[in-house]
Symmetry: C2
Subunit: 491 residues, 2 copies
């Protein structure tokens, strides 16, 4: 299983790719930049979807579905949106193929050219706000709290499985409000939902903050984001929530009659997370032995491997495993009993370790005699032998412990790799060394931001929420600054 | 709510469109042929997805995700598949837009032409079998039991909400097997899953059968289908399951080493249902008062409407409703208490009736005094007053009754509209009259099938499974026939 698998120290990037492929999470397809998400990887994404979907519904949102195609002209309607999104995208120009005259294969039928080209959605603000115009007439129609689970396409030149692919899966919330305050509150609420999900389910601590103007979503007044720190010292943006002001309402002429009988443009937000989260999950916890999954998102939480030579021994073990499995399942634990005789126990140990199954129970003939079971935990690779009689409570407790330990480990890593930096020399030294989050003063100008990016590839990841005011001097320009912001190189 | 709403008798087609739009299920979008599925409609689709997904998993399948784009050349690889699918489809030819030189909007960047055009998937056999080539080497890798929930695009000239749209949502199962028997068994198993779902959840009785060669899926050896009869006497194909033989394995060179160490092509199936099911659901049960939903798929199963003049009265009613609502929710019932004071009770009655909520409870001040509640059922529009004290059991029982009644009603409609026909005159007379399923002899030739279609628009819907052999003469040609098949006009 883990043969030909790079270590993180050798080559972090190669380690990541090897891991994604060898753990059966995803692979490249015949279509440049588009991935195939394999059943094991997709099962993790389904867990992510299921939890987030419940959180969205608990905060009052409903799902809907909007067209995958967007008329080209829609992109030109919101001035800054067009600059950000209408560049690298898949353009549908024709709607028919025909047999090639030479009899070899098929060709595009030039008679079937579309009058207006259609763009495969890179994001759906435009088509959704074009729809909202008919949904919203009065304050009674507000708020509109809608989410969509969908595929989107952005033509990426350099792609990496999960982290940057031409097609990816995501959810995009698009809400409409009667007031600015309510829309801002919505954007902040969803940032908090993403934060809770990242920390409590993915076991990934995140920084909450706003983006600098140059890193804002195209068309947003304010972009909120959560940022996580990967094991190689690079940041990964793990969710964004945008306050869009009245920009899209103006562009698509969406007005409402207020309680006070005034006609006004509607206020908007949008927010999303994508299959990129899979990349964050993999890179936050995994090690040189393979994938490490937090129990709350693991498709298989516990695997039971019997060690046997004869079918009689297997029968004996299965008799003991049966009630243990049922008892664990009744506690809502997802469990797999791998009693195949086509693979040896050693192969199974390696397989489930590589695939990040949080807990492994092993039972052999001696365990049956002695009423014991071996428990191995994936996060620490520790093994212990326990009496089987109260194994259920032990396992439930252990899954909680592992979830917490992964979070604690990631938090302590982040704390050890967040640096208060006051000189440009130190700034560059850290980025050329361990990397990490750099908390430094910035003069607030786009020019400085751009130069820092050019010289170091580091960008402002966030201006932390509730950032304390602090007088200082910009780490790059030396000009006055009133607060520190968080820099890092990023995925 | 129900103003400007056609009756079925006046104009069935208009009734359907009005219903879909006025019940907030779906609407047309700015993109020709593509629909917007609105939150209420999408909530029904989510119920359909959730139930089917569990059924797929219970029969051993896992979900995965494959690219939305398919290289044009892939379609030419399977000879009959190309004829069926590579015609009306969305073709991506470019991957970039740029600002128009005249400064007005954006145009396609001709420098960004793809070397090979990409087709937006109309179905995924080709890209999936191209992927399976790397997954399958030995009998140990089989079976592969994979399903995908996805959007697909088929460029339709005449579209109707849910029934025929350019983009639609569906699931497509794609399985790979070591033997012909196993693949046929899989195709039949999934037909049975679809049948159970249609009958037990959607309350729609269906005929199971195989398609005639000319109606087969492009690339299939055998197409199994379930067919339902709509209230206007037209059939609606509600799910198909295909035995693909080794056609796609040959086209994409997918071979496996058998237990006997022989290299052989892999056997395949594919099967799918789509948002078309929404059309079947609507047309099977709804009436001139609006949508009628089977309780097991209704997003809101029970609505409680308080009738009050003062806020004191509302408080009194809410105190009684609270525990009833909790008790019903604890039984897994989805319930909405609509205590808004912005709409009158009469408006709410009309609204939930139109949206097909199966059960409505109404409580006014007199009910509070007398400890009663009025129960209205949507299927029969009957109302009764009950003591509130054992209302929970009453409601649970009523939901079951409604589910069964809808099925029984639809079954009896189908029975009354299925005709054994032996003459061509009667065949045409029925189609020009009530419509319905026609059980008639067919000589087994594609020519006769085609002529019948030309003259009457009726097609062979299915050759029923386990069809009894019966000697007779073709209803059209008079030639000998050995079995009856089912004809109908169809959606």
């Amino acid at each position: 299983m883990a043969k030909d698998f790079s270590t993180r120290a050798e080559n972090y990037s190669q380690w990541y790719n090897d891991l994604v492929i060898k753990a059966d999470l995803a692979e490249n397809s015949a279509v440049r930049g588009c991935m195939v998400i394999k059943p094991y990887g997709y099962a993790i994404w389904e867990q992510i979807q299921s939890v987030l979907d419940k959180m969205f519904k608990a905060t009052g949102h409903s799902n809907a579905y909007f067209p995958i195609f967007i008329p080209k002209s829609f992109f030109s309607k919101e001035a800054s949106h067009v600059a950000g999104f209408a560049k690298e995208c898949a353009v549908v120009t024709h709607y028919r193929l025909k047999n090639s005259p030479d009899g070899k294969g098929i060709i595009v039928d030039e008679d079937a050219r579309l009058e207006e080209e259609l763009i495969v959605r890179p994001t759906s603000e435009t088509i959704i706000w074009d729809t909202y115009r008919n949904w919203i007439k009065s304050y009674r129609d507000l708020p509109v709290l809608v989410n969509q689970w969908a595929n989107v396409v952005r033509w990426e030149m350099r792609t990496r499985l999960f982290l940057r692919t031409t097609e990816f899966l995501w959810q995009e919330g698009h809400t409409a409000h009667a007031s600015e305050e309510e829309a801002i509150r919505e954007a902040e609420t969803m940032l908090q939902v993403y934060t809770d999900f990242a920390e409590k389910w993915m076991a990934i601590p995140v920084l909450q903050g706003t983006k600098s103007p140059s890193e804002r979503f195209a068309g947003a007044i304010e972009t909120y984001a959560i940022e996580a720190l990967m094991q190689d010292g690079k940041a990964l943006q793990s969710g964004t929530s945008h306050f869009l002001g009245q920009n899209f309402a103006r562009a698509f002429d969406v007005k409402f009659l207020s309680k006070e009988n005034q006609l006004d443009y509607v206020w908007a937000t949008s927010w999303g997370v994508s299959t990129r989260l899979m990349g964050a999950l993999i890179m936050s916890h995994s090690d040189d032995h393979g994938l490490v999954l937090p129990p709350r998102l693991a498709p298989i939480q516990v695997v039971i491997v019997p060690v046997f030579k004869t079918s009689e021994q297997l029968e004996q073990i299965s008799r003991v495993v049966g009630p243990v499995k049922s008892a664990l399942e009744s506690k809502g634990i997802t469990i797999k009993y791998d009693d195949r005789d086509t693979q040896k126990p050693g192969w199974k140990f390696a397989e489930y370790e590589f695939k990040g199954v949080p807990v492994r129970l092993t039972l052999g003939p001696r365990d049956i005699e002695q009423g014991t079971v071996e428990i191995a935990r994936r996060d620490t690779l520790e093994k212990e032998v326990f009496q089987i009689k109260d194994i259920e409570n032990k396992v439930v407790h252990l899954l909680d412990l592992i979830q917490q330990n992964l979070y604690d480990r990631a938090l302590s890593f982040r704390e050890n790799n967040t640096f208060r930096v006051d000189t440009w020399a130190e700034f560059k030294e850290i980025l050329d060394g361990t990397g990490g989050f750099i908390s430094a003063h910035w003069d607030g100008t786009a020019e400085t931001e751009e130069k820092i990016k050019e010289e170091t590839k580091a960008t402002i990841r966030v201006i932390p929420l509730n950032n304390p005011k602090e007088e200082g001097r910009c780490v790059y320009s030396g000009k006055p600054s009133h607060q520190r912001v968080i820099f890092a190189r990023a995925y």
